[in-house]
Amino acid sequence: MTEFLQQLINGLSLGAIYALLALGYTMVYGVLRFINFAHADVFMVGSFAGYYLGRLVPGGTLWGGLAVLAAAMIACALLGVLIERLAYRPLRGGPTLNVLITAIGVSLLLQYSGQIIFGATPRTFPQLFPVAQFHLGRVGISSNQIVVIVVAPLLIAGLQLVVFKTRMGMAMRAVSLNLKAAQLVGVNINTVISFTFALGSALAAAGGILYSMNYPSIDPLMGVMPGLKAFTAAILGGIGSLPGAALGGLILGGAETFVGGSQFSTYKDAIAFGILIVILLLRPAGLLGRWTAEKI
């Protein structure tokens, strides 16, 4: 039982991070119908932003941690907007394959620019938030895990508010339902698309920092694995579905942690791809379908 609870806590905190990242894949897919492969590398940039910004504030303080988190989110929001503006927008209206290949190109560009700028050797992520270890009976939980378990749901709830309660969110939903009809009621699609990239990239940055707090060795290729898993989570939940992405992230984080803690721990990373294959075979629309289904 203790073992189970322990794994559950670990799984939840990993899953919450996958969820943050999965939301970005799903939102971009919702409005533009393509997978932004560079998303995982924005996660990496978020982590490095946290690494460098962390030096500017006193370590191990709550306000310092939150300030770094916010600043990295803003920086990555700008990066996301820039990527869309420079790489994807010129291709809009063309075949989806062109944008997909470009997205892989942007991903590689970020990874290798990262290796030039930050170096290829892993670095140790600083302790941004206060450190403590708590015990509930024999179950241990670290302050870093608590930060994840508090911050990630808050961000996801904030996203829900934006998507369902604001004018811009309304425009995002309209664009994802029917691009032409959205334009005909007066939605400026360029603004909506930029906004979507900003939101998704900010969540990726938060994910990058939260991830690095718990797995503190960071390098320019660190986004690849979490990216693939979050992508799987988005597909599992139903690409285009916001609750689906969140649920998919939790399931994936949980499954990976439980497998990692069992005698099959060497298959920890394979579990994601196993799930992906099974989903694509059995239920390609994912668990929750689209947040806004394809038009009829």
Binding site: M170, R173, A174, L177, K180, Q183, V185, G186, I189
Partner: protein, 240 residues
């Protein structure tokens, strides 16, 4: 047409890659009128409307609305000027409720009181929409979806309404209702209308002037009354 027309299109050409869908098209639509654009499948009617509302860029030509050149404006700026488009196939937001679809139609309206008032007008025009307020738009019948699409466009308080084949795929009984409503919108609200149709009989009955499009070219135009008597048209579109 003595006064300056509300919408004037001159020598508009639109192509999809190498295919010329519309060639050298010119039209004039006077304020307050109902003008129809007729033509068979693939004539270029939808392409024309898409270009007028900014969804497509023309190869050449010019569109002037209320004295302003709007040829290169993006769609949201064209809607903001009062030119609204009810697209072919209706394009309601299938997953949203009727109420939410109407709210989307008022996306650019900032005056809440005006939005509420417009909504009441639309319910008076289409009581069916009021009954179905919470229903998901995708589950409405074709005719109801058409009412919703028109209602959504009216929520933007347009001066000019373009309708692309409102009779398409709709039960004959509802077609009559919808055409009556189009006339009512024109008469009581003073909204100028450009009606695209394949159903030439009905369209010529409610319009005052008509243009006939064939493979991207205007082949014939004139007062609707005269077009109804035109022997060539009769053979091609009016069922003998």
């Amino acid at each position: 047409m003595n006064a300056a027309p509300m919408l004037s299109v001159s020598q508009l050409s639109v192509s999809y890659g190498a295919i010329n869908a519309v060639c050298d098209l010119s039209l004039e639509i006077p304020q307050g009128g109902i003008v129809t654009l007729l033509g068979g499948n693939g004539a270029g009617k939808t392409t024309t409307l898409h270009t007028l509302s900014g969804l497509l860029r023309p190869k050449s030509g010019r569109v002037t609305f209320c004295g302003e050149d709007i040829t290169r404006l993006p769609p949201h700026q064209i809607v903001a000027r009062g030119l609204s488009h009810v697209p072919e196939g209706r394009m309601v937001f299938a997953n949203l409720s009727v109420a939410e679809n109407l709210a989307m139609g008022a996306f650019l309206q900032t005056d809440k009181a005006l939005v509420a008032e417009t909504r009441e007008h639309i319910f008076a025009l289409f009581p069916r929409l009021k009954e179905r307020l919470r229903q998901t738009a995708g589950t409405l019948s074709g005719g109801e979806q058409q009412m919703l699409a028109i209602g959504r466009a009216l929520m933007g308080c347009p001066k000019f309404l373009m309708l692309d084949e409102p009779s398409l795929g709709i039960a004959p009984r509802l077609i009559t209702t919808i055409f009556e409503k189009i006339v009512e919108i024109n008469r009581t609200q003073g909204i100028t209308i450009l009606l695209v149709e394949q159903n030439a009989n009905l369209a010529l009955e409610i319009s005052s002037y008509g243009y006939v499009l064939e493979t991207g070219h205007i082949v014939c135009q004139g007062p609707s009354r005269d077009l109804r008597q035109n022997p060539q048209l009769k053979a091609a579109y009016l069922g003998g």
